[in-house]
């Protein structure tokens, strides 16, 4: 299959080379998210940014999406909680995304309810210019929870789970913008998990942080994995090896290879993946 030494240049060619190559499929029962032949377009179907993507994301594990800039990692991530609905002309052109067995683009799915179950942490940490407390309580308040003790409890628990409690417990009412970048990103994680989602999507959560703050977030991801299914987009190969159980490599809108992280990095079956993870391009 991929025994030839000539390097494929066309993504479709690479993908077809890997299509039959799925040595470690995840049983349907264990998968939280099933991406089934999904193509996606930002311009009403004229051009597809994602092309016939199929893979299953396991529950209770960390799955990393890697690939060069512009290959559609963020787009795929934003399909999973339907954030792409914000773009008027966007459209899933083929296939289905099923979360816990339910097609999330079905007409009777409310994206609001979906997003309560599928939280998202963004590349640029974006706390509201409110107090730390109000940031964490935001998601609960918009669900109509007003009970003070319930909110207090949820805020404390979320901050603890996000490993931020000890640093901020004395200044819950001061502005979130006074925190350091790493703390702000952990606050955003606390805000996301406060509404108790099943899945947490993270889009390059450390790309704006220094190495020490990055290390803390990575530790945090390892802890959160016990409770949540995590899908993380990362630019950083080492990060993918450190935090993820499985890795999907994308190139030009296609899924080139998907496997256990260890296999992807130590023994990829597609030449292109090997070139990318070893830093020869991208």
């Amino acid at each position: 299959m991929v025994t030839t030494s000539s390097q494929p240049t066309d993504a479709a060619e690479i993908a077809s080379a890997s299509a039959a190559n799925n040595p470690n499929p995840i049983a349907k029962e264990d998968s939280m998210i099933e991406v089934d032949d999904v193509s996606f377009s930002y311009d009403m179907g004229k051009t597809n940014v994602l092309k016939n993507i199929s893979f299953n994301i396991p529950a209770g594990k960390v799955t990393a999406l890697i690939g060069p800039s512009g290959c559609g990692k963020s787009t795929l991530l934003r399909c999973l909680n339907r954030m792409n609905d914000l773009v008027d002309t966007s459209k899933v052109t083929t296939g289905q995304i099923r979360i816990m067995g339910q097609d999330i683009n079905a007409s009777d799915v409310d994206p609001i309810e979906l997003r309560k179950q599928v939280g998202m942490v963004f590349q640029k940490y974006n706390p509201f210019p409110k107090s730390i407390y109000d940031n964490v309580a935001y998601g609960l308040r918009i669900q109509g929870i007003k009970n003070k003790s319930k909110l207090n409890e949820a805020v404390e628990k979320s901050l603890q789970r996000a490993a931020l409690w000890s640093e901020v417990k004395d200044r819950l009412n001061s502005s979130a913008l006074g925190l350091s970048g790493g703390q702000q990103q952990r606050l955003c994680i606390a805000r996301t998990i406060a509404v108790n989602p099943r899945i947490v999507l993270m889009d390059e959560p450390c790309s704006a942080l220094d190495p020490i703050a990055t290390a803390r977030i990575e530790e945090l991801i390892a802890e959160l994995q016990e409770e949540f299914t995590i899908v993380i987009v990362t630019h950083n190969m080492q990060q993918a090896t450190r935090v993820s159980d499985r890795t999907a490599f994308f190139y030009l809108g296609e899924l080139i290879e998907y496997n256990d992280t260890a296999t992807i990095f130590a023994n990829p079956s597609v030449r292109h993946t090997e070139d990318y993870v070893s830093g020869r391009f991208g």
């Binding site: 909680n81 954030m83 914000l86 008027d88 609001i112 309810e113 997003r115 309560k116 939280g119 998202m120 963004f122 640029k124 974006n126 706390p127 509201f128 210019p129 935001y138 998601g139 308040r141 918009i142 669900q143 913008l177 955003c188 805000r191 996301t192 509404v195």
Partner: protein, 381 residues
């Protein structure tokens, strides 16, 4: 040998000339502004604070701010000195001094008393205008910016709004007159419907809801001003909404907020400073307009303040207040400046009104600048 030596002297001279011309033009504008301001202050300040006049007097002439405009009487007394006073004062004076010598008695309309009526009227017009303009303007901006599908149609609406901002204010005045004053479908709560004008009158709350148009009224003037300032408010609101980082909206929606929850909790609160600043600037603009209120709201003379004059109770009182005409500063200045000859006696009202009005508009502008600086410091992201 200096490697950085200037190569062309001609270029340098040209550069210097351009800089001089630009500076000169800037200073000419500054000089004009300062001259106008000091001229107005020099003439107007003594009216408000007679200590600064040549004759001297009390520190603060509160009558000028608390009395209604009325006719001014001027005459020559037994010493040959010129005297002038408001007509009510003159009547009392002649009652108390029946033998006083009064020669060359002259009356000057609108030039006596104070400017309480126009000040209050302008404040009421501005309040009605801004309440309406802000509600409609914010709603329109939120719709255009957050809800509407960005396409040709919305582009056309934006273009139309922009063009509306360039329409001369007299056109708005005539529009307001036709639409708010004469249109007979506009209802009034009243005890006694105007039989001639009323299309029909429905008995309600012990009075009538009479469809007779609003006539020359506070509400007609306020709404006309609102229509005029709407394009400015909408544009400013849209600017403020666009300035809100996308991250706030995304974070909110990703936490399961509905669109309206997102706008209410993660967009509008942070757009408020911009909207506020813009609306104070809007206030400055509408407070100074004469043309839109000339046909729709303003009258030169009123005996009492609007709330003293309104009759009835509750909704009838409010209806009466809103459908009664008002005095207004710009119209008052137009009246005393353009329709009353300038003499030693009448100049006080003219100069004083202009001075107070200038202060009023300048304080609005300062509030707007203060708000902008204050919020910029407080809300940074």
């Amino acid at each position: 040998m200096n490697p950085f030596k200037s190569s062309s002297n001609a270029q340098k001279t040209k550069d210097r000339i351009v800089a001089c011309v630009l500076a000169a033009l800037t200073y000419v504008i500054l000089a004009c502004t300062l001259f106008i301001f000091f001229d107005i202050a020099k003439k107007g300040l003594p009216v408000l604070m007679p200590v600064f006049s040549e004759k001297g007097g009390e520190i603060f002439n509160s009558d000028f701010l608390t009395r209604m405009p009325e006719t001014l009487v001027d005459y020559t007394d037994e010493n040959g000195d010129k005297q002038s006073m408001a007509s009510t004062d003159f009547i009392e004076f002649t009652k108390a001094n029946p033998d006083a010598v009064i020669e060359n008695k002259k009356t000057n309309a609108y030039s006596g008393g104070g400017i309480a009526g126009p000040l209050v009227g302008t404040a009421l017009l501005v309040i009605v205008c801004m309440v309406v303009a802000l509600i409609v303007g914010v709603a329109a901006a939120v719709y255009l910016n957050e809800y509407a599908k960005q396409g040709r149609f919305v582009g056309m609406i934006r273009l139309a709004i922009m063009n509306l901002a360039g329409v001369p204010s007299i056109v708005f005045g005539l529009f307001g007159f036709a639409f708010f004053c004469l249109f007979p479908l506009l209802p009034v709560f009243t005890d006694a419907p105007n039989i001639e004008k009323s299309l029909w009158a429905i008995p309600l709350f012990g009075g009538f809801l009479s469809f007779e148009g609003w006539g020359n009224s506070l509400i007609a003037g306020g709404l006309t001003l609102a229509v005029m300032v709407l394009p400015v408010i909408i544009a400013a609101c849209e600017e403020s909404l666009k300035a809100i980082p996308k991250g706030f909206r995304e974070a909110s929606l990703a936490l399961g907020a509905t669109k309206w929850q997102c706008i209410r909790t993660a967009v509008l609160p942070y757009a408020t400073p911009g909207i506020l600043t813009a609306s104070v600037l809007g206030v400055t603009r509408v407070a100074g307009e004469t043309a839109p209120i000339m046909f729709t709201a303003a009258v030169a003379l009123k005996g009492k303040l609007p709330w003293e004059e309104a009759s009835g109770n509750g909704i009838f009182w409010l209806s009466d207040l809103l459908t009664d005409s008002v005095q207004a500063m710009p119209y008052h200045i137009y009246t005393v400046a353009a329709r009353i000859p300038r003499t030693d006696a009448t100049s006080a009202m003219q100069d004083g009104s202009v001075f107070v009005f200038l202060l009023m508009v300048m304080s609005f502008a300062s509030v707007s600048i203060y708000l902008r600086i204050h919020f910029r410091k407080k809300l940074k992201w």
